[in-house]
């Protein structure tokens, strides 16, 4: 098969969990990577080495362990900055996950700054957002008297941009959208939309939670197009939980008021009043997720070593193969675009007569892990009139044989529930 990672079996050996057997001696077939990715040994080892040999608090400690820990933490920031080609490493803020990063922006926009959102202002999102890119904006607009608006979706799973001129207007203060949909797999034209949003002076926020694992990111280009903020989450790029990334254009981060207060985010503190540190520290209150940032550094190094272009090609090859296999199952309908070159690697589908929970359960009894439910994208499900769906999602360690196992498992599911 064209496009697969050449050393796939070697790569699989990097991921200890792939050796795992489940109930009944079944080998694990992990097809839930859009939910969270598995971790290579090097990420785990880097974290262990830190905890066993270099653990100390950062910035504040003057001793050798403190210096080592600080250096490792800040080196992780450099690695992440390089991974997304950030114009400046100071523009990389560590959060606990993508959700916190999105909330950081939405929450601070309620308070005084050149970007403050108030009565009469509008925030534009899309109907295919993950809840983490919906609820923060609902909270912001409800609390400030602003209005939330959104792009709808076309029947084939694309953003409906036909009413962009009605949606993105002089009243628009923020446009926030996902780059790659975690439900439909759709890849959105973020640069194009950013350019449009910039014409009306809106702040442009991109949720790259599903893009970062799969696509090479060039923030030089994206920021030139008008993207002001981009977020992603560590645990989906083979890093640990507890760590997320917010990139923000320097002028934006400098102008936003602080989010969380405390710890090292200050310049000076008096009881009456405090002043704040420069970016990125201004947004990193308290002891940051140190070992998690260091683990994430190892993770993006690992991905960079394999090459994001190669990973993207692999994902496309597997996705194309999966789309073909899935469509061979009678009664199966894929939600979202059918052209693998135009989409990410998460494929949600319905199987007539069998509820997603029941599909997932039968697959699980064969060792195949998929996700069933609304995938934190209830509005997108509602748009297509489905209450929940089954989702398979691959990653750099996924093999065609695993897709075969899934397809076979789906045939078996149909016969188990005696449909068709």
């Amino acid at each position: 098969m064209d496009g697969l990672l050449p050393e796939l079996e070697v790569i699989r050996k990097d991921f200890p969990i792939l050796e795992r057997t489940l109930a009944g001696g079944q080998r694990l077939v992990y097809l839930d990577s859009a939910n969270t990715s598995q971790k290579p040994q090097v990420v785990i080892d880097t974290m262990v080495d830190h905890l066993e040999r270099h653990n100390a608090n950062i910035a504040r400690a003057m001793h050798q362990l403190g210096a080592e820990s600080t250096e490792a933490f800040e080196a992780a920031r450099d690695k992440v900055a390089a991974f997304v080609k950030a114009p400046s490493r100071d523009e990389i803020v560590f959060t606990k996950n993508a959700s916190e990063a999105l909330n950081l922006v939405a929450n601070t926009l309620a308070w005084k700054s050149p970007f403050q959102v108030g009565e009469g202002d509008e925030v534009v999102i899309t109907e295919m957002e993950h809840h983490s890119n919906i609820v923060p904006w609902q909270l912001l607009t409800e609390r400030t008297g602003a209005t939330l608006r959104w792009f709808g979706l076309t029947d084939d799973g694309q953003l409906d941009l036909s009413d962009i001129d009605q949606l993105v207007t002089e009243r628009t203060k923020v446009v926030s959208l996902t780059w790659v949909s975690n439900m439909l797999g759709t890849i959105n034209p973020v640069a194009e939309i950013a350019r449009r949003a910039k014409q009306v002076g809106a702040l442009v926020v991109v949720d790259a939670s599903q893009a970062a694992p799969q696509l090479p990111i060039d923030l030089g280009e994206l920021s030139a197009a008008g993207v002001d903020v981009l977020v992603f989450t560590g645990h989906k790029v083979v890093g640990p939980t507890g760590i997320g990334v917010l990139w923000g254009r320097r002028e934006v981060l400098e102008a936003l008021p602080p989010f969380l207060g405390g710890g090292e985010m200050i310049a000076t503190v008096r009881m009456e009043r405090s002043t704040y540190a420069g970016i990125p520290h201004k947004f990193e209150a308290g002891t940051p997720p140190i070992v998690e940032a260091i683990g994430l550094g190892a993770a993006v190094d690992y991905l960079g070593h394999i090459g994001m272009d190669a990973i993207h090609r692999h994902e496309q090859a597997i996705t194309a193969y999966a789309l073909k296999g899935l469509q061979s199952v009678p009664g199966l309908t894929v939600l979202g675009p059918l052209d693998a070159t135009q989409r990410g690697g998460a494929i949600s589908f319905e199987l007539e007569g069998v509820h997603p929970h029941d599909i997932a359960q039968v697959l699980d009894s064969r060792g195949i892990a998929v996700r069933a439910g609304h995938h934190c994208a209830k509005p997108a499900h509602a748009r297509y009139g489905v209450q929940s769906s089954t989702r398979m999602s691959s990653y750099l360690y996924t093999t065609p044989a695993e897709i075969d196992a899934l397809v076979e498992g789906l045939h078996h599911t149909r016969s188990y529930f005696k449909v068709g």
């Binding site: 009944g24 509820h355 997603p356 929970h357 009894s365 064969r366 069933a372 209830k378 209450q387 929940s388």
Partner: protein, 161 residues
């Protein structure tokens, strides 16, 4: 592997799933609730109709529902109605307790067929933590609706106390 799956999807469950008892929404009713399983989006709208029994204590006259969900959640709604319709509320609540215990027992609780009837088929579900919520969705909705019905009707409430 198939054995485990079969302990979850017992024939009784699949039968109730394919042919749910007492399905649909009916009047009269004193309370209607809408419960959702936030994780998967499964939903149930459920109505309760109570009335005074011969001894003056409230009785479950009807439970009607509209459920969207997996086989386990649909079958459990069906079994629920079989077990509570026509029973004094107090007795039905006890059945609820017994079912809850079974579900939260991690597969260690021996089901009592005299009390649970077809409900014993759910013993296997207790071994699948992720599915326990499915089995409990309509039971929780019923308890909620019944409490509301008792509260909203002073007559029933008086009788009860």
């Amino acid at each position: 592997m198939s054995t485990d799956l079969d302990s979850l999807y017992q024939e009784i469950i699949l039968d109730h799933y394919k042919n749910p008892h007492h399905a649909g929404l009916r009047a009269p009713f004193e309370a209607e609730v809408h419960h959702v399983n936030p994780t998967c989006g499964d939903e149930v709208t459920l109505r309760v109709h109570l009335d005074d029994g011969p001894d003056g204590r409230p009785v479950v006259v009807d439970v009607s529902y509209d459920a969207l969900g997996c086989s386990i959640s649909q079958a459990s709604a069906s079994v629920l109605t079989d077990l509570v319709i026509g029973r004094p509320v107090e007795e039905a609540m006890q059945t609820h307790e017994v079912f809850l215990e079974l579900m939260q027992g991690k597969g260690q609780v021996e089901p009592d067929e005299d009390v649970l009837e077809d409900g014993i088929a759910f013993a296997g579900v207790a071994k699948f933590p992720a599915r326990v919520k499915c089995a409990l969705l309509s039971w929780m909705a019923w308890k909620d609706a019944t409490a509301q019905a008792l509260q909203s009707d002073p007559a029933l409430q008086e009788e009860k106390s």
